[in-house]
């Protein structure tokens, strides 16, 4: 199966127009030695056959629709209208809106998304999206270093370990220095920053699920001239005091909890929002309102002088394609639920996680490591390695107990609960864990 519409007659007529007899002549400018390698790929399939094959592969996966797994990605309720509208071909098959007259759909949706993210984070300006939470963190830190013209970065160990790994990769490339402050009792201890530090990074709720008090870091950063990069789960911001109110300069995070499926880890979208004075340092696309020649309101890509296609080697970032459709799904999700619906989802998730933590922590040999207060994820110390426990739970039909990296301690497992879980789910997981640990 291929999707080319050419009939034999078409091909003949088109080749004739070019004065050619054979398709091979279209590649006459390639060195002969390179031509027509034999590709060892499986035989072509039709639509029915590929779907049967994929269904069989899908059957070898166990659905995580009710997983008690976290790390910034979780199963959440998504209104049915979100995937339905996101599949509209106009949204699905457009590209970067360089022709604004015929791209008002995407441009206005981005403008609205930017507004929603600014509202959620308590900051002034959001861009159109980045790849994921980790890339958003790396870009946020690079932005802070550009602004402060400093090369030091201090990050709390409470920041998602995979985000910190991505950050380390990006910072190594530009020769910046990264220092990590270890958690104490599951929380980020106060720290002081010297004048080489351009960015300080903390996450709340942190990787262990605990809600941090960012105030001491914000104050210390102010005193030293560093900018504060705050990693926040956007769902938590339906209830929790937003980064802007805490005094952060830059907020970043993982957008999946807003209307996106888990997709085995991707795609989702990363968000970044900043204070007004940093807007011209933002990486990626930005959409501005403007007017057309008839005085009608419309939207265009703005401040492109920051971007790679104009600035080339001096661009703020190399980013071109970002995560437009998944960010659009986030915007649709927020529009459908509204402030009250989003707060309901967050509150149900918090209540469910609280109930689950209490039930599991009563099991012998199990202890909650995450301090109070925590949001919808938490870490337990188990009597055995988490990977083993996760595997035995999986054999019983439960996805839970993601292994926490050893840097946080021995036999630690990450749990999450959301509004998707009911009392039977909590009881079922508790019974299964009890059985596994016996």
């Amino acid at each position: 199966m291929d999707y080319t519409p050419h009939t034999t007659d078409d091909v003949r007529a088109m080749l004739e127009a070019l004065g050619m007899q054979e398709l091979r002549e279209l590649f006459a400018d390639l060195p002969e030695a390179l031509l027509e390698p034999e590709l060892d790929l499986p035989a072509p399939m039709d639509e029915q056959a590929i779907l049967a094959h994929l269904r069989e592969l899908a059957g070898r996966n166990a659905s995580a629709a009710k997983a008690f797994l976290g790390g910034g990605l979780r199963p959440h309720f998504v209104p049915s209208l979100v995937p339905a509208l996101a599949q509209r071909g106009e949204f699905l098959t457009a590209y970067t809106p360089y022709q604004p007259e015929v791209s008002q759909g995407v441009l206005q949706a981005v403008f609205e998304y930017q507004t929603m993210i600014a509202e959620l984070t308590g900051l002034d300006v959001s861009n159109a999206s980045l790849y994921d939470g980790a890339a958003a963190l790396a870009e946020g830190v690079l932005l802070a270093l550009r602004q402060t013209r400093r090369m030091g970065v201090v990050v709390s160990q409470g920041v998602h370990p995979e985000y910190r790994q991505v950050l380390a990769t990006y910072l190594h490339a530009v020769g910046a220095e990264l220092r990590t402050v270890a958690l104490e009792g599951g929380l980020t201890p106060p720290a002081e920053f010297d004048d080489s530090v351009g960015a300080v990074v903390l996450q709340s709720p942190n990787f262990l699920g605990a809600i941090e008090n960012p105030a001491p870091w914000v104050e210390a950063a102010r005193a030293s001239g560093a900018l504060v990069v705050y990693v926040a789960d956007p769902l938590s911001l339906a209830l929790l005091k937003p980064p802007g109110e805490w005094g952060a300069d830059i907020a970043v995070g993982e957008g999946q909890p807003l209307g996106n499926p888990m997709n085995f880890g991707g795609p989702q979208f990363g968000y970044i929002a900043v204070r007004e004075k940093l807007a011209r340092q933002l990486p990626g696309r930005l959409v501005s309102q403007t007017y057309d020649v008839d005085g009608r309101r419309g939207y265009v890509l703005a401040l492109a002088a920051r971007e790679q296609h104009i600035r080339r080697a001096k661009a703020k970032s190399n980013i071109t394609t970002n995560a437009q459709l998944t960010a659009l799904m986030g915007a649709m999700h927020m529009a459908a639920l509204g402030p009250e619906g989003l707060a309901d989802v967050a509150a149900a998730s918090v209540a469910c996680a609280r109930a689950l933590a209490e039930m599991l922590a009563r099991l012998p040999g199990v202890e909650r490591v995450t301090p109070e207060p925590f949001f919808n994820e938490f870490v337990l110390r188990l009597p055995r390695p988490a990977a083993e426990v996760r595997s035995e739970l999986a054999a019983r039909g439960w996805h839970a107990a993601a292994p926490v990296p050893a840097e946080y301690g021995e036999n630690l497992a990450l749990f999450a609960a959301t509004e998707r879980h009911d009392e039977d789910d909590l009881a079922g997981l508790t019974a299964a864990l009890e059985e596994v640990l016996q």
């Binding site: 949706a109 929603m116 888990m262 437009q324």
Partner: protein
């Protein structure tokens, strides 16, 4: 004058509810979360009913063109048809969590493993990572592989320069900067290909890599590619292949066989996954064996009948992304490759090249200039007839129901229009497009006023971009609405 299309915030009414999520139990949030940690006021998100949300986005979508609605020959972007079966395929794999026991995700890991193998085969590389989230992210991954490779040989300090042709995509020099390199531009010769003598002169012990697109952004195959790569390798310089234009040569030639050391691909261009209005894409990177030890973790490997995530790569550049990359995009590309097979991929490239050459020939016949008028690959550069501007031709096309080509790129051609029809367009579509281009040229020259003010029939007309840049309005506020 028509009314402005409302923003969703203008449709909001205090107290109106949309979709109701599961009702939360009565809980004391201040007690559970700490009163000092709560928001003082809820975020001002829109309060709208479901039908309003559905109408809003449905009507927004009608103010948007895509491949599904219009011919979209946007050069360098490979706007081919995005098969709907890909969407059905991806929908089978949405409810998977990256931290679930890998034993319970064997189907997903098998897809990743096999896709790694297929992409290695198609590009002629030895190992592939699927982690990068887009093309530019793949570029950064690839350049970091090269950097760590040079560091491992003790040449990291010495090799500080990356060579980029003046016709390169803007993301190439931007990536080289992000990877900590100085960028040196290499001029193109009069034939539109890299000037081999200038390149030879630019090579030296301080050069880490050359970033090349082949065919290049003029749509021309670099015919001296083998000599060029030999000369670079002789000096210890690594060759980076920007795979944005791979749609020209699938099954006809492989970057690995040309001698490239690293390749990135855009699954959302070559392998038919939708562009989504600007992502999400996926930018896998292929590497030759000497660079494989540095690939990001994890990759997927096969152990007997099982597929496992392999984190054991002591020399890795590190992680580029959380989790494993844009898996749902990989499923779509996997579906495409399995459906086309080797013959189908080869035919796709042949038809893409046939369409581009046919269009090049036909546009030349109706008065458009072709600055490099020879056999092109999947795209070519045209210029409007003397007296017309590329921008005005682009805007006029909008009124005729066509998405314009990429304009004013590459930078080395004045009034450039970069046209990439792709293989999924029919001869009739191309013929009708040529007729419209002819009419625009004729009418534009006769009536300069007319073309200068196109488009007339789009949802909005030419927009004030100067004002948007001078005093950007980046969010909705009630007082500005």
């Amino acid at each position: 004058m028509k009314r402005d299309f409302p923003v969703i915030f203008e449709r909001s009414r205090s107290g109106r509810r949309g979709t109701r999520p599961p009702r939360p139990p009565e809980v004391d949030l201040a007690g559970l979360l700490g009163a000092e940690n709560l928001r003082s006021a809820p975020p001002r998100l829109p309060e709208v009913d479901e039908l309003t949300v559905v109408r809003h986005y449905t009507n927004l979508s009608r103010r948007q063109v895509g491949v599904d609605t219009n011919f979209y020959p946007l050069g360098s972007c490979t706007m081919k048809y995005n098969p709907r079966v890909n969407e059905a395929a991806a929908a089978l794999f949405t409810e998977l969590h990256p931290y679930q026991d890998p034993e319970t995700a064997q189907g997903a890991l098998q897809i990743m493993y096999e896709l790694q193998e297929y992409l290695a085969e198609i590009t002629g590389m030895d190992a592939v990572t699927l982690q990068p989230a887009a093309g530019a992210h793949g570029e950064l991954t690839g350049m970091l592989l090269i950097r760590v490779y040079h560091e491992s040989r003790g040449e990291g300090e010495q090799r500080r320069v990356v060579l980029v042709p003046d016709s390169a995509h803007g993301s190439n020099p931007a990536t080289a900067s992000m990877a900590g390199y100085q960028v040196r531009e290499v001029p193109s010769g009069p034939d539109g290909e890299v000037d081999l003598d200038a390149l030879r002169a630019a090579l030296g012990p301080e050069v880490a890599a050359i970033m090349l697109t082949n065919p290049n952004t003029l749509g021309l195959f670099e015919r001296k590619i083998l000599e060029l790569i030999d000369a670079a390798h002789y000096q210890g310089v690594q060759l980076y292949y920007d795979g944005a234009n791979l749609n020209a040569i699938m099954g006809w030639a492989r970057p690995g066989d040309m001698g490239f050391d690293v390749v990135h691909l855009n699954l959302h261009k070559t392998f038919s996954t939708p562009h989504g209005g600007g992502g999400p894409g996926s930018g896998p990177v292929g590497a030759k064996a000497h660079l494989a030890p540095f690939l990001p973790v994890p990759t997927v490997k096969r152990e007997g009948e099982r597929y496992v995530l392999d984190f054991d790569r002591p020399q890795t550049i590190g992680r580029m992304r959380s989790f494993y990359g844009n898996f749902a995009v990989m499923v779509r590309a996997y579906t495409y490759i399995r459906m086309l097979g080797a013959e189908g991929l080869k035919k796709a490239s042949a038809m893409a090249v046939l369409n581009a050459n046919y269009l090049r020939k036909k546009l030349a016949e109706v008065g458009y200039k072709i600055p490099y008028d020879r056999l092109c690959k999947h795209e070519f550069i045209a210029q409007p007839p003397e007296g017309l501007k590329a921008l005005d031709v682009a805007k006029a096309l909008l009124d005729y129901g066509y998405h314009p080509p990429t304009v004013y790129f590459p930078l080395i051609v004045k009034e450039a229009m970069m046209i990439e029809p792709t293989e999924t367009e029919s001869k009739e579509t191309l013929d009708e497009y040529v007729e419209v281009m002819a009419e625009i040229a004729r009418r534009g020259l006769e009536d300069p006023e007319w073309i200068a003010h196109t488009p007339y029939h789009t949802p909005v007309r030419r927009l004030d971009e100067v004002a948007a840049n001078r005093k950007p309005v980046l969010r909705w506020r009630p007082e500005e609405g």
